[in-house]
Amino acid sequence: MSALNIKKGATSHSAYNLRDNHSDEIQRHTLAVIVENEPGVLARVIGLFSGRGYNIDSLTVAEVDHTGHLSRITIVTSGTPHIIDQIEAQLGRIVSVREVQDLTTTGRPVERELGLLKVAGKGEARVEALRLADIFRANVVDSTLESFVFEITGTSEKIDAFAELMRPLGLVEIARTGIAALARGA
């Protein structure tokens, strides 16, 4: 698990490092929560958000360290600075949570999402869809004479924009992964 460089101790949140929580401004934060990959751990995290009335805008989870049995949950949430502090502290005290990182404290993190879009159509619309996909660097991962499945990777906004363009061209279905994110720099 050395590659992850995970600190010991379940409560990495520091109470001495508090941002101004008088502000009422709603902020969007991306949190990386490193958890022990055991049954129910996702339910603990989600239950915390629903039980205490916090927002989840996006959530992804996958095991990132097979030998250490650690998973990384990436949560995009929004709230006042005070709420964001509480969310981090509440996450930090879940026994199976090893570490909570706020990726938004040091500028915007690198965030990527993958989308799969099924677009059905014939004739000019079909050609236009293919042309736009090329501009967005979306790949065709499945095609029939009447449909394409595009794979697109990028920020959520990019996928939103692509989906908007595909809508009049015969967008049938869309599947998105939610955001995976890393802080910038070393």
Binding site: H13, Y16, G40, R44, G47, R93, S96, R98
Partner: protein, 583 residues
């Protein structure tokens, strides 16, 4: 050398290795193998309760009165769901308990089997942590880890769900000493922050210590250090309901309990102080009253082991994350090293102000020659048990607040009450747990008749194990606190708040084989209480008190500390619609 044994035997072995001497439980199909092992040994006493909720509250009483974790053992399905209230209670009050539940065999989980419930799912939000153990090889390690999690950091309840096939199967026992849990909360406070606090203490003109259950949870050393710190600085000290006893009620700096039904001097000191030092309390809504008017002139310092408690409700100027005993030790060290400075000019003025508030005598009530006032009953109980090796439990409601106001606690772990959750029915089973831990002590449950009825089945337990618990019921034939709120907030419409069809408590006691005493005359009260205390066995004391007494002082919901109601005269129209929304 590795030891092979069945899962059921592992449970008993792990409990022994963890120093457990008492388990409160109730058997059922899914825990039969464990009960079979309990039958074949004598190291651990099993106390058969009459309802699983009683088992968990008894374990809580055991834990609160000893500082050691309490253990409960119940079966799957209804056994587990009946434990939920106790688990939530322990979570809210940070009480270390381990609840072991049976589960249907692993191959039947998810099939809606007989007495199957999603126990880990149901109890996830009401435990500090829980486990479903699916392999016997992992059971012993999980049990040891559970004790660690329950007691380390901010204590709390944990639950282990053990399927029946895991109990039957044989596996390798993991020794306690080989466990290396990842969960290691920080106990030492940051010395820079502690030094900042000491600097504030040196300059403070109107300081106050506001202490809570964290002092008691930190252990006896924390209470000792607190006494030393209060004595050395001569600062006044108040405490939450949960923290009573950490500083002695007879101590000269004691202001009494604070909060909604706290003492006038305590709440006024909180409101007017210039330095508030919160030690192991959590700015609960019963304490703060109206938040935007809470102690407006003070610098606030918060010492807590749980990072999520800090700035949760009240924004503080200095946060010190750590265990109370460790932090208090460092505060004393730093304060002494810097020359033991306090503001010797301002403190006497502050004390003069406090003494003026004390002179208001906020607990004054109108006594009667003909009717027993509940306050009077508790004053007499206090006087007649003074100096005894005494433990007090309570149920929830008016009697609980009066007990907190009128009984004095000299030591920690002597006061068992449901604070955060406010669980009616807590006190009686808790008193059983306390008496098991302290067989020779005087254990009294101050109760209201309505709360007491919620878990009265535990009379059977008290009789079976010859536990001389004294059930001191202040019987007003009302849900007193509900009635009080209906009087003050709901136009005196007393909806469903009286106790119809009450049993004859004396006959009830006799039916169980206990002693029943009834008293309705103030002149007979002392003799009756003495009779209760002298009886070597469980007693139900039916103390018929004034039916419409209100509990004062009171900070109405939505009001500030300096807007306390002091007595009957000032209550008219005191609570506006805005306050009625709050609980």
């Amino acid at each position: 050398m590795t030891r092979q044994m069945t899962g059921a035997k592992m449970v008993v072995q792990a409990l022994k290795d963890q120093g457990v001497d008492t388990v409160f439980g109730y058997p059922g199909g899914a825990v039969l193998p464990i009960y079979d092992e309990i039958f074949q040994q004598n190291d651990i006493k099993h106390i058969l309760v009459r309802h699983e909720q009683g088992a968990v509250h008894a374990a809580e009483g055991y834990a609160r009165s000893t500082g050691k974790p309490g253990v409960a053992l119940v079966t799957s399905g209804p056994g587990a769901t009946n434990a939920v209230t106790g688990l939530t209670d322990a979570l809210m009050d940070s009480i270390p308990i381990i609840v072991l539940t049976g589960q249907v065999p692993t191959f039947m989980i998810g099939s809606d089997a007989f007495q199957e419930a999603d126990t880990v799912g149901i109890t996830r939000p009401c435990t500090k942590h829980n486990w479903l153990v699916k392999e016997t090889d992992k059971l012993a390690a999980t049990l040891h880890e559970a004790f660690h999690v329950a007691t380390a950091g901010r204590p709390g309840p944990v639950l282990i769900d053990i399927p029946k096939d895991v109990q039957f199967a044989t596996g390798t026992y993991t020794e306690k000493k080989t466990i290396r849990p990842h969960y290691q909360p920080q106990v030492k406070g940051d010395i820079t922050a502690i030094t900042e606090l000491v600097k504030l203490m040196e300059k403070a003109k109107r300081p106050v210590f506001y202490t809570g259950g964290g002092v008691i949870n930190s252990g006896p050393a924390a209470s000792q250090l607190l006494r030393e710190l209060v004595g050395a600085t001569d600062f006044p000290i108040t405490s939450t309901l949960m923290g009573l006893g950490s500083y002695p009620a007879s101590g000269k700096n004691w202001l009494g309990m604070l909060g909604m039904h706290g003492l006038y001097e305590a709440n006024m000191a909180m409101h007017d102080c210039d330095l508030m030092i919160n030690i192991g309390a959590r700015f609960d809504d019963r304490i703060t009253g109206r938040l935007d008017a809470f102690s407006p002139k003070s610098k606030k310092v918060h010492i807590d082991i749980d990072p999520s408690s800090i700035n949760k409700v009240v924004r503080v100027d200095i946060a010190i994350l750590g265990d109370v005993a460790h932090v208090l030790e460092d505060i004393l060290k730093v304060w002494k090293a810097r020359g033991r400075v306090t503001d010797k000019e301002s403190l006497p003025k502050w004390w003069k102000q406090i003494n003026d508030w004390r002179a208001v005598k906020c607990l004054t009530y109108r006594n009667s020659d003909t009717i027993i006032k509940p306050q009077y009953a508790l004053e007499r109980l206090e006087a007649l048990t003074k100096g005894m090796d005494r433990y007090i439990c309570t149920e929830v409601g008016q009697h609980q607040m009066w007990a907190a106001q009128f009984l004095g606690f000299e030591d920690p772990n002597r006061w068992m009450t449901s604070g955060g959750l406010g669980t009616m029915g807590y006190g009686f089973p808790a008193s059983i747990g306390v008496q098991m831990a302290h067989p020779d002590a005087m254990v009294i449950n101050v109760a209201g008749e309505a709360s007491w009825l919620m878990n009265m089945q535990e009379m059977g337990t008290a009789i079976q194990y010859r536990l001389p618990v004294k059930q001191f019921i202040l019987n007003n034939e009302r849900l007193g606190m509900v009635r009080q709120w209906q009087q003050l907030l709901h136009g005196e419409r007393y909806s469903q708040s009286w106790s119809e069809a009450l049993p004859d408590f004396v006959k009830l006691a006799e039916a169980f084989g206990a002693k029943g005493i009834r008293c309705d005359n103030p002149a007979d009260l002392d003799e009756a209480i003495k009779e209760m205390l002298a009886y070597d066995g469980p007693v139900i004391f039916d103390c018929l008190v004034e039916k419409h007494e209100n509990c004062f002082p009171m900070i109405p919901s939505g009001k500030a500390h300096n807007e306390m109601l002091m007595g009957e005269a000032s209550t008219e129209g005191a609570i506006q619609a805005g306050g009625a929304v709050m609980v």
